[in-house]
């Protein structure tokens, strides 16, 4: 059975139900009988939706081959930051647990082992602490900031 999904930029994707219901959000809609018409996804653009559906399809196809699936996942998640966050938001909105976990893990890997200064630079985070405030937080968690 095929479902029709519409991205925020009005592109229609036809996809098999088995693939689409990896999203718990879509699965609930199907179970409630609301999936007869096109399902609008106003929070996901077409570029991201295409990637997400690729993930879902491969998870159905490679379900029994753990090694192959891991290889695919590692390759899939090698994207630039902006795309990664789009995937994160989409996986969250569509409630696709394994994609959400993998994307979060990827961001976490970017942060692991870095100093706060390095993290701020990688993620473009603005430091809004005063020097006194920052010193206070450093004292609070001195053990974590030791080299």
């Amino acid at each position: 059975m095929a479902l029709e999904l519409k991205s925020s930029d009005n592109k229609i994707f036809e996809v098999e139900e088995l693939v689409a219901v990896q999203s718990e959000t879509i699965k609930s809609l199907v179970e409630d009988g609301c999936a007869d018409n096109v399902i609008p996804l106003p929070n996901v653009d077409s570029k991201t939706l295409e990637l997400v559906l690729d993930w879902c399809k491969n998870h159905v196809d490679m379900k029994l081959d753990e090694e192959k699936l891991k290889e695919y996942e590692d390759k899939f998640i090698e994207v630039d930051q902006a795309v990664l966050y789009d995937l994160l938001l989409a996986a969250n909105y569509l409630n696709i647990k394994d994609l959400l976990n993998r994307a979060c893990q990827k961001v976490a890997d970017m942060l692991k082992g870095k100093t706060p200064e390095q993290i701020r630079e990688t993620l473009n985070i603005v430091n809004d602490f005063s020097p006194e405030e920052e010193e206070e937080i450093r004292k609070e968690n001195l053990w974590a900031f030791e080299e």
Partner: protein, 505 residues
């Protein structure tokens, strides 16, 4: 009439919304083909401020990202910005492992921050920074060196355990008094997993219920009295998975101790029974729903194992002890209770013990056994093929035979093998069912070669013989080993032999 009105209203409101969206889009001057996600729109329109993309994610997602970081990295993010400061406390998991937090655990006194300092600080701050205190679903504390159970007791009592689903406390090498669990924990309606090890003393209340507990692990803990364990097991109506490690040295203060496992819901049991047969402690297992049994330890005359018709997978590692013939009889009785098993793993010591009782009248037949594995320090002194044959004769439908070398399962029996005499019948399964044979950790020694030779000779329908060499096998000797293997007579015409990466038919 009413329904028509509702439908018209809906249509009108949808129309209005559509017009609104079009206006907004026009104002933003974004065409439908190049519609960007909100994340990238922000990045583009605020290029002067260089606003960070990651901070546009909601708290719940940032917290989810922190979940994948070790605690040190997670806590460090508190200094990134004011938004990030409390986020690490919102992660509902605390994993405090001494090995991960302290550089050199065994020389802690030379470290600036010891595990007790770090863990105390983390627990205190987690309860102080965010208001209300964020729920904690999982707490793991692993303290290897110089453990002070008193502190763990303190941290546990300072934590809101109302939402705790998973508690794992491993408190090793403690010269100090073990801790007892806070009473409220015994009445938890959320706890699903409970794992306790070593310096913990269990003194449960006389009547309590853990309605959600599915997984219980008790590793070398001490008990208040002989019925403490039974009390705990009776309090778990949905228990699925039980791991018990009982060492008699830890029970010495108790005159009697009963390990009675009468759990109707139990599906998995792992029992490590390091209790000498000469001691007064006994176990009794009656678990009709059990599907997986892993037993390691000694067998005593009064140990009772019953009602195991559903066990499909088992791992048996019976330890050697005196009076080998009695022990062998008990071993057969034990193994006989698992007669419906589909997959079985035996330590080589177990196989040797069983050999000594091979004239046992009621030795069972394993009609459903499809896969049999022998694991251990294989084939050191004794004639392996006899022990294997003995068990194969009782497994008429066997398809897969596996050997794995492992040094962790005890050394071989002192008693000489009694099976050296007598004719060698070919087991039925070898003629008709065994299709796969695997050997992991092959060193090419004489006993191993003989075992492989016998199998290849007897197995008429063998399709695959896969041998992977042990790391100790000198690569220079591999070609000669391969040559010898190739020369062995093969009963099965279609048999393919694989030695490491080389296949030959």
């Amino acid at each position: 009439m009413k329904r028509q009105r509702i439908e018209t209203d809906e249509r009108e409101s949808r129309e209005r919304q559509r017009i609104e969206r079009a206006e907004i889009a026009k104002r933003r001057n974004v065409s439908s083909e190049t519609c960007l996600s909100p994340v990238r729109q922000n990045a583009q329109t605020n290029t002067d401020d260089y606003k960070d993309i990651i901070s546009s994610l909601p708290d719940s997602l940032l917290t989810h990202i922190l979940f994948f970081l070790p605690i040190r990295d997670s806590v460090s993010t508190s200094i990134l910005s004011s938004r990030w400061r409390p986020l690490w406390t919102l992660v509902p998991v605390l994993d405090l492992n001494q090995a991960g937090l302290v550089e050199r655990c065994n020389e802690e006194k030379n470290e600036k921050f010891k595990f007790v300092d770090i863990a105390s600080r983390i627990v205190a701050l987690r309860n102080a920074i965010s208001n209300p205190i964020p729920p904690l679903h999982k707490l793991c504390i692993c303290w290897y060196y110089n453990c002070h159970p008193f502190y763990v007791d303190t941290w546990l009592r300072a934590t809101n355990i109302r939402d705790l689903r998973d508690l794992d406390l491993q408190l090793l090498t403690s010269p100090h008094q073990p801790m007892e669990l806070p009473r409220t924990l015994y009445f938890s309606t959320s706890l699903v997993v409970l794992k306790l090890g070593y310096a913990i003393h269990l003194n449960p209340p006389s009547a309590f219920v853990l309605p959600c507990l599915r997984i219980l692990l008790l590793n070398c803990v001490t008990f208040a009295n002989r019925d403490s364990l039974s009390t705990i097991l009776n309090a778990c109506p949905v228990l699925l998975d039980l791991s018990l490690c009982v060492v008699d040295r830890y029970l010495n203060i108790l005159n009697e101790f009963n390990v009675i496992v009468l759990v109707a819901t139990l599906k998995r049991l792992h029992l490590c029974w390091s209790v000498q047969p000469s001691s007064k402690y006994r176990f009794q297992i009656n678990t009709p729903a059990l599907e997986y049994l892993h037993f390691r330890g000694y067998l005593n005359a009064d140990d009772v194992l019953e009602n195991l018709p559903n066990v499909v997978e088992s791992v048996i590692q019976i330890k050697d002890c005196d009076r080998i013939n009695d022990h062998a009889k008990r071993a057969w009785d034990f193994v006989g209770k698992l007669c419906n098993v589909i997959s079985m793993e035996l330590s080589t010591v177990t196989a040797q013990i069983l050999c000594h009782g091979s004239n046992h009248e009621n030795s069972p037949t394993f009609r459903n056994l499809s896969s049999l594995k022998f694991c251990g320090d294989i084939w050191h002194e004794w004639y392996a093929w006899h022990a294997v044959r003995l068990l194969l004769c009782r497994a008429p439908e066997l398809q897969t035979l596996v050997f794995e070398r492992s040094i962790f399962l005890g050394s071989n029996l002192d008693n000489p093998n009694p099976c050296l005499e007598g004719p060698l019948d070919v087991p039925e399964c070898m003629s008709s069912h065994v299709t796969t044979c695997l050997y992991e950790g092959f060193k090419g020694v004489e006993n191993e070669m003989e075992l492989v030779r016998q199998i290849l000779k007897a197995a008429r329908v063998l399709k695959t013989m896969k041998i992977t060499s042990h790391i100790d096998l000198d690569p220079r000797n591999k070609p000669s080993v391969r040559k010898k293997l190739r020369k062995f007579q093969r009963s099965s015409r279609n048999c393919q032999i694989a030695f490491d990466k080389g296949h030959f038919t």
